[in-house]
């Protein structure tokens, strides 16, 4: 049944327009936090405290000339960034933002796995876009994306299973709604490891190896310009929101919180935004705090430390959930 309400939900709130502007806001927030932590001012000219800077950047990029390198694989080069952006925004549809999913009743058992798979596909599309640009910097950056996400996908999936076990469900909305007591308190070890794996999945410092400026110029974005570059940037930014939203839904009780008066949808959105910003601040803090690691150091750390730890964390969570928590609660 296509109603006005449904179209409004998809296109305006909490769908595309909301996600788009919220992404720009978070981008501004990230830049501000990073600037403040680095003893700088950050964006300050466009709008109050430079809040319109990300929007100005997107508009600027879209109006620029679009150049496609002659040696590039044209079709992949053209469509990979747009497809990546569409998929990551589609992935957002499975998060209950104002209490229900963007498309009501679209939640199904297993959409957690579907969403994580989408994240992987988006990373793969980013790899493809760099690979298709036929530039050494682009290809090396792309190859590094691949190496990194091969390494971090397994721990990320394993860690995402902890809340699924606690909630006895593989649906994101069911996991979120079953958290009367947020899972961050029931499985803090999984929460911390998930944050670290997410940091790597989103290619942020100390894991931003694919776009190490000192070695690779612009990484996989080197050959991109104009609107396609804007889409690549937007994909990165939505990925950040996506990652933070996943943390919120899985560990921090999703959008649910106390409703004081009026519409619950308003309060749920507010709680969602507050929690999401808290996660972003935490992640930005990690980004600013460390130097970039070398790719072999990251891989070693991943296979030797993070993977065993995430398996252990899953075992611990399942054991506690089976024998201890039923007695306590």
């Amino acid at each position: 049944m296509i109603t006005f309400d449904l179209i409004f939900r998809i296109l305006v709130f909490p769908g595309f327009t909301f996600i788009f502007f919220f992404t720009l806001f978070v981008d501004w927030l990230e830049r501000k936090i990073e600037a403040r932590m680095q003893n700088r001012v950050g964006p300050s000219l466009a709008g109050p405290s430079g809040i319109l800077q990300p929007l100005a950047d997107v508009i600027k990029l879209i109006t620029k000339e679009d150049i496609i390198p002659g040696a590039a694989k044209k079709i992949v080069f053209k469509f990979a960034p747009i497809l990546a952006f569409s998929l990551i925004v589609f992935g957002m549809c499975f998060f209950p933002i104002d209490g229900t999913n963007i498309i009501p009743n679209s939640a199904f058992s297993g959409d957690l796995i579907f969403d994580l798979a989408l994240l992987t596909i988006v990373n793969f599309l980013m790899f493809l876009s760099g690979w298709a640009s036929a530039s050494p910097y682009g290809s090396i950056g792309a190859a590094r994306v691949l190496v990194l996400f091969l390494g971090y996908d397994i721990p990320l999936f394993l860690l995402a299973l902890s809340p699924a076990f606690l909630a006895q469900s593989l649906s994101i909305s069911e996991i979120a709604i079953s958290q009367n007591f947020p899972f961050v308190f029931l499985a803090p070890w999984a929460f911390i490891l998930f944050l670290i794996a997410m940091q790597a999945e989103l290619e942020k410092d100390p894991f931003d190896i694919p776009d190490a400026e000192s070695e690779l110029v612009g990484g996989l974005e080197t050959e991109y310009c104009g609107g396609r570059l804007a889409f690549l940037h937007l994909t990165r930014d939505v990925q950040v929101i996506f990652g933070a939203a996943l943390v919120v839904e899985l560990f921090l009780g999703g959008p649910y919180g106390p409703v004081f008066f009026g519409f619950p949808a308003f309060w749920y959105t507010l709680w969602f935004i507050i929690k999401l910003i808290a996660v972003i601040v935490l992640s930005e803090y990690l980004t600013t705090l460390f130097a970039r690691l070398r790719i072999d150091q990251v891989l070693k750390g991943n296979w030797k430390i993070l993977l065993p730890l995430s398996i252990l964390s899953l075992i611990l969570t399942v054991a506690l959930n089976t024998w201890i928590y039923p007695w306590v609660m």
């Binding site: 932590m37 680095q38 003893n39 700088r40 410092d205 100390p206 931003d208 190490a212 400026e213 000192s214 070695e215 690779l216 110029v217 600013t288 705090l289 460390f290 130097a291 970039r292 690691l293 070398r294 790719i295 072999d296 150091q297």
Partner: protein
């Protein structure tokens, strides 16, 4: 200990100058190495002496500089290479071969170093009779081929970095041969922005040359000025007033402070630590402001001149300088703490590009790079100039010789520099800060070493009694330190190349003077 035909002049061009025949140069150096284990080469200066070409081998010994002076025939300039006994001489010989056409017999790789490949064959620009008219058309007429193209031979992949590479700040080229991730061979090529300052200096008066040499390098400009000015003052026999000496010392140390802070911040950027970069460069700003306050210019100070300095320090400047130095020392302790306790910095820089003390001496590296390998050389101690004789300070050395120690040496030196400035301001003598000197310089020659932020900077000036110098030779610290990169990068990971390279504090503006 040498053959018959020699002459020794004491306290001339360093501790002593030994004049000998060209064929006995190599034997002499072999004998000197037997006597002194710490012998390295500082520079090889060529001079056009009308019929012959003079070659000055400035050797760095435990006691100071010893110069070996010899001459080769202009029409048959052949001399045996000393690169096999002192590997550090490699670049110096190639430079002399480029600019004077001297042929070094048995040199392993006597290719172009500073001149372009298309430069005409029998044209040596620093010879007095070189005809440089229409040089641009002559250069273009000659086609050339290089053998350094990206290629794959067996397991080795040839990777070319530069001369135009967005990750490099200055034009230079490195051909890396890589087996998987491991670097097997490095071939540096400089000279992309060679400006012929040495030749230009011969066409300008001494006073104009002060401004010219300052522009060799923006970062260590005052060091270039002091090295040139001190050489001219040696020839003239000028005694600079004490106040002038102290003010010079303050300006030179400000130069060092800002250079080291710039490098440390840049190192932060290379290892992906943006916050460190932003913090360090913010703490560099007050130093730039102080330089502006004292000299009137933010970067190129143009303050040191023949006979003293151009501006006095005013009474109301002193508390400001002292306040900033105290603040800087506080900040440096914070950064030292950070470098010692931050795991990701150590992961990227520890055991990267290790250079042992023995190799450091063999390759004749200078400055913080040598000191980080445990070689205690510092011109400020070994061969004091300006007011360094009277100011107490500690010589910073470290043992490990890796990138981490090279950065830490600079951090410790920052604290020492701040203390030097503090002391100099406290003990600033009264009196004039500058004396007048004649415009025409008497016949003579002089050699000066100063400790620039990147290491020993060597100037040789020869005067022929006119208002224009006969020859100005500049040996910059990076020119001596590139062989160290060549050595340390081999066997390392390719991802370590930026962290290793930046720890040498390379300056190609200096190198391509």
């Amino acid at each position: 200990m040498f053959s018959d035909n020699i002459q020794i002049k004491r306290n001339f061009l360093g501790k002593a100058t030994i004049i000998l025949e060209s064929k006995s140069i190599k034997d002499a150096i072999v004998k000197l190495i037997k006597k002194d284990n710490n012998l390295g080469i500082s520079a090889i200066t060529g001079i056009d002496l009308d019929k012959t070409i003079g070659l000055l081998y400035h050797l760095r010994t435990s006691e100071g500089i010893i110069t070996l002076k010899t001459e080769v025939q202009k029409n048959k300039p052949v001399i045996s290479s000393i690169t096999d006994i002192i590997p550090g001489a490699n670049f110096h010989e190639r430079e002399a071969a480029d600019l004077f056409g001297v042929i070094f017999k048995d040199h392993p790789n006597l290719k172009r170093l500073v001149l372009p490949e298309s430069w005409p064959k029998d044209l040596y620009p620093l010879r007095k009779d070189a005809n440089l008219a229409d040089i641009s058309t002559k250069c273009n007429a000659i086609s050339y081929k290089t053998d350094e193209s990206p290629s794959q031979k067996g397991n080795l992949v040839n990777i070319i970095v530069g001369p135009q590479h967005p990750a490099l700040l200055e034009p230079e080229k490195f051909s890396l041969k890589v087996d998987g991730e491991i670097v097997k061979y490095v071939e540096p090529r400089i000279g992309y922005v060679h400006r012929g300052v040495e030749k230009a200096a011969e066409k300008k008066t001494y006073l104009q040359d002060v401004f010219l040499v300052e522009r060799i390098c923006g970062i260590c400009n005052s060091c270039h000025a002091i090295a040139f000015v001190a050489s001219v003052e040696k020839i003239l026999g000028t005694q600079v007033p004490d106040r002038g000496k102290y003010i010079r010392t303050i300006i030179l140390e400000l130069n060092r402070l800002h250079s080291h802070l710039l490098l440390l911040g840049h190192a932060g950027l290379e290892i992906g630590y943006e916050a460190l970069f932003q913090y360090l460069w913010r703490d560099r700003e007050p130093i730039m402001d102080l330089t502006e306050m004292l000299t009137g210019n933010r970067v190129i100070a143009s303050s040191i001149t023949i006979g003293g300095v151009r501006r006095d320090i005013k009474e109301n400047h002193i508390p400001l300088i002292k306040k900033q130095m105290a603040h800087l020392q506080e900040r440096m302790i914070f950064y030292k703490n950070l470098f010692e306790n931050e795991p990701s910095i150590k992961l990227r820089t520890k055991n990267v590009g290790v250079l042992s003390a023995k190799e450091a001496i063999k390759l004749s590296v200078v400055g913080p790079v040598a000191r980080a390998s445990g070689v205690p050389i510092d011109v400020r101690k070994d061969d004091p100039y300006s007011a360094y004789e009277e100011i107490p300070f500690k010589l910073v050395t470290r043992k490990d010789g890796d990138s981490y120690s090279r950065l830490m040496v600079r951090l410790d030196e920052l604290i020492e520099s701040a203390k030097i400035i503090d002391y100099a301001v406290d003990n600033l003598p009264n009196g004039p800060y500058r004396i007048k000197v004649p415009r025409i310089v008497v016949v003579g020659e002089a050699l000066t070493r100063v400790e620039a932020p990147r290491g020993a900077l060597l100037y040789y000036v020869k005067s022929n009694g006119s208002a224009y110098p006969e020859r100005v030779k500049v040996r910059t610290p990076t020119f001596s330190n590139i062989p160290a990169f060549q050595k340390t990068a081999i066997g390392g990971n390719i991802a370590d190349v930026p962290a290793n390279f930046v720890s040498l504090d390379p300056c190609f503006s200096c190198t391509d003077r």
